[in-house]
């Protein structure tokens, strides 16, 4: 202690030395490049190879895209405008736009109807996809299918109205009877709906559709990307409830119900969608009553719905199996009966786990709607391969058309998968 007072210190640093900047190769872009692209011989080779690949790709595609001709009436005219340069002939997209989107038979003065249906669909989907929105909006979602049917097919408004009334009455009966016994409510609702549809259908006068405000459009006139969207949206929304029912049936301890579900699911999953579409186009008609005509669109919707329901059922079964046994036992010990336990405890959790899987099935299904072109329905791919590429004006414009179709599907499918990832993060309530 005394040393300090006796020996005065010659120098004391009063402030710290400012930190010197890190060496140039350890900061910023250089460091990042060194660590991520050129960290070793192999890595450098890989980087150079990738750069060469990207360069070749861009060198071949960019001039083609930027020299593209957007206004011409035929491929020959395109070539004249390009005068020997490489360039795309995007004019086919502008000239055949309505055909690509709506098909070649949909009446041109009615294009606003599918457009409006698409906008309304986004409104109707919003409360389902983003559940921060007011729950009241679900009312519109419930009415939407009937509005969309009326807009796209046109004809008399009485048909969708009767269908809607049937559903509302069924819902009311279920509310009334379902409080006592789920089964009574369920069967009562089905009977009510069937009665109203049959009576209402008989009451609608014949020939009302001819001079309706919205001209009636037969199903075979639908086409283009609109057909893909309609098949995708309809079949996914129909197959989710069917899939839930099948998954519950497969878990059931009633042997008959269980085996029916198992056979159905395994059969559908074992055959390719094309064979099911063949069933829809050539075989299903034999199973309907002799004088009835069920149009191809409905037959295809039935088969695709069954197809995706089987896959969704397997996804949901995975979700059900992932729930701990305690959840089922807790529901039992609370005295809940089977429908209550499922509705209030099991399904909300199981469906949450299954969302990524269901979205995967939905994306796959949407891509598979292109297969209807094989049974000569004119969806986007069918339009491209059929009327457009076969026409004298546009014979040989492959890349622009196929690229457009690919881009359209990519945007939709990638969008859906990004939404699913967002939803997964949003629903993650467990803490890691």
């Amino acid at each position: 202690m005394s040393d300090q007072t006796t020996n005065p210190i010659a120098f004391v640093a009063e402030d710290t030395i400012p930190p010197s900047p890190p060496p140039a190769r350890e900061t910023g872009v250089v460091k990042w490049l060194r660590e991520n692209l050129f960290s070793g011989v192999t890595n450098t080779v890989l980087t150079v190879l990738s750069l060469v690949l990207i360069y070749i790709l861009l060198k071949n595609t960019l001039p083609w895209i930027f020299n593209g001709v957007w206004n011409a009436n035929s491929l020959a005219e395109c070539r004249e405008i390009l005068a020997g340069k490489t360039g795309a002939c995007f004019a086919v997209l502008t000239e055949r736009w309505p055909q690509l989107i709506y098909g070649f038979k949909y009446p041109a003065d009615a294009y606003w109807r599918p457009n409006l249906a698409l906008v309304l669909m986004l409104v109707a989907l919003a409360p389902v996809l983003f559940f921060d929105l007011p729950r009241k909006m679900l009312l519109f979602t419930a009415v939407y299918p009937f509005v969309a049917f009326w807009l796209i097919w046109g004809g008399t408004i009485l048909v969708p109205v009767v269908a809607l009334v049937g559903f509302i009455a069924a819902g009311a009966v279920f509310q009334k009877l379902g409080n006592n016994s789920f089964a009574a409510g369920f069967f009562g609702a089905i009977v009510t709906a069937l009665v109203i549809w049959n009576v209402g259908g008989a009451l609608i006068p014949e020939g009302l559709s001819e001079n309706a405000w919205l001209t009636a459009v037969p199903s075979r006139d639908l086409g283009g990307f609109m057909l893909n969207m309609m098949l995708g949206v309809t079949c996914v929304s129909l197959s989710v409830p069917l899939g839930i029912a099948l998954a519950l049936g497969r878990q059931s301890n009633m042997p008959l119900i269980k085996w029916v579900c198992v056979i159905f699911i395994e059969f559908i999953r074992g055959v390719p969608l094309i064979t099911l579409l063949f069933v829809a186009s050539v075989m299903l008609a034999y199973f309907f009553p002799p004088d009835s005509t069920v149009d191809l669109f409905l037959r295809v919707v039935i088969m695709i719905t069954m197809f995706s329901a089987a896959y969704i059922a397997e996804v949901i079964r995975g979700g059900l199996a992932a729930l701990p046994r305690g959840q089922y036992e807790a529901a039992d010990s609370l005295g809940l009966d089977y429908p209550q336990a499922m509705r209030l405890i099991i399904l909300p959790q199981a469906l949450k786990i299954s969302i990524p899987g269901i979205v995967n099935v939905a994306v796959g299904l949407f891509k598979d709607t292109t297969l209807v072109s094989v049974i000569s329905m004119f969806d986007l791919v069918g339009m491209i391969r059929g009327p457009i590429l076969a026409s004298t004006e546009w014979n040989g414009v492959y890349w622009e058309l196929l690229g457009f179709a690919a881009l359209l599907f990519f945007v939709v499918c990638y969008g859906i998968s990004q939404y699913s990832q967002w939803l997964e993060r949003r629903l993650a309530t467990d803490h890691h």
Partner: protein, 410 residues
């Protein structure tokens, strides 16, 4: 004194069928059975009436009739005089061929892309992510059509190979890529040991299997020696010899020569012709499914906890051996089940052959035969039967595999 008695046994009342859980499931099953029986009766009745109205019946005798159409791409003898049944067999073999080829290449693409996506190299991993996203999000039918268009509209015709100023030339003077298909050299045995070609090929396969067993035996001996003495003998050269020597000797004895395709007249002749539709389907299925397999591989590798890699590194293993000895054996357990269901998907997606005119089972039995004979129900049923059998066989293989690699727990 009071005695405990059982509550009086309730008499059976009709309402118990709905309200009592002991009887309710029985009620439901009876209702379900009635509904199912009624719908089967209804559909069957409609079917019978419709068939009678159309003057048809269910019969499979058409399979024996002469088909009257030709198939370009075939593995067995077939001409337009052959029966519809034979056409279906040609179709089945073609389906199996394209599914087999696509499974192999899809696995190669998928494993490469999946491993590279985990690469430290930022550019490479991003490129692979782009590959996976692009190919997964565009329908496989569009890919098939795109590649088929490349095959038919972009590749040169045979006439481009002709003359002194030919615009195209053959690769290595042996492979010709034309818009009518790709021509590759065909191996021919000048003096085969057997009369039938197929027997000669069987002999080659038997020799190769023998080599495989021998090289496994060498590995086993090396391991035994390593355990006894601590030193592992070098086996690479011996194994190479075991693989190459018998094969080379066999080839010399049988006099292997190559039948190289050559331009004769307006088209190539000789060699093996691989048709454009087959290549389009094969390649499209490979790159499309490869993108899915890449995701499975990535998920499998990422599922192995980092502690395993770190523990292996702490033991002093080099990165390559960590991958081979520690990560991959565990990752395979996660990767293989989804991989097999991707193989199933390839088999089912190969039915898209009908879009490009490759004569698989869907295009022969479900396409031309169906349209010519009008036997819709029979053809579609047979078609479904084939795919169901294939699916069940593949899932059986998967179950056997799963059982064999299951973690043995007590």
């Amino acid at each position: 004194m009071s005695t405990m008695t059982d509550p009086p046994k309730a008499d059976f009342r009709l309402s118990m069928l709905i309200n009592d859980t002991r009887y309710r499931s029985l009620t439901f099953q009876v209702i379900a059975a009635i509904v199912i029986a009624l719908s089967i009766w209804y559909l069957g009745n409609n079917l019978i009436q419709n068939l009678r109205a159309a003057g048809l019946n269910i019969s499979y005798s058409f399979l024996g009739d002469s088909s009257g159409y030709d198939i370009n791409q075939r593995l067995v003898e077939y001409d337009s005089q052959s029966s519809h049944g034979r056409a279906a067999v040609v179709g089945i073999l073609n389906t199996l061929l394209v599914a087999f080829l696509a499974c192999i290449t899809a696995t190669i693409f998928g494993v490469i892309a999946g491993v590279l996506r985990l690469s430290n190299n930022w550019l490479v991993s991003k490129l692979m992510a782009v590959y996976v996203e692009i190919f997964r999000n565009i329908p496989v039918l569009i890919w098939i059509i795109i590649i088929f268009t490349v095959m038919t509209a972009v590749l040169p015709g045979p006439r481009a190979f002709r003359g002194d100023n030919a615009t195209s030339s053959m690769l290595f003077d042996a492979f010709a890529f034309t818009n009518r298909g790709v021509y590759v050299p065909r191996p021919v045995f000048a003096n085969g040991l057997f009369g039938a070609t197929i027997l000669n090929w069987l002999l080659v396969i038997v020799v190769l299997i023998g080599s495989w067993f021998a090289s496994r035996e060498i590995e086993k001996r090396a391991t035994l020696k390593q355990e006894a003495t601590g030193e592992r003998p070098k086996t690479f050269l011996v194994k190479l010899a075991v693989w190459l020597m018998p094969f080379a000797v066999l080839m010399l004895i049988m006099g292997l020569t190559w039948d190289i395709p050559a331009l004769k007249g307006f088209n190539f002749s000789g060699g093996i012709k691989v048709g454009g539709p087959l290549i389009a389907l094969w390649f499209a299925l490979s790159i499309y499914t490869g993108a899915f397999i890449a995701e499975n591989v990535r998920a499998g590798i990422q599922a192995i906890s980092k502690g395993q890699t770190e523990a292996a590194a702490a033991l002093g293993l080099r990165p390559g051996r960590i991958m081979n000895l520690v990560v991959l054996p565990q990752a395979l357990r996660v990767i293989i089940p989804p991989l097999i269901s991707q193989y199933l998907n390839i088999t089912k997606n190969s039915s898209l052959a009908i879009a490009v005119g490759y004569a698989d089972i869907t295009a022969t039995l479900g396409g031309i035969t169906l349209n010519q004979t009008g036997r819709a129900i029979e053809c579609v049923l047979l078609l479904m039967l084939f795919y169901l059998t294939a699916s069940l066989l593949i899932s059986m293989a998967m179950n056997i595999y799963n059982a064999s690699v299951k973690l043995k727990e007590r």
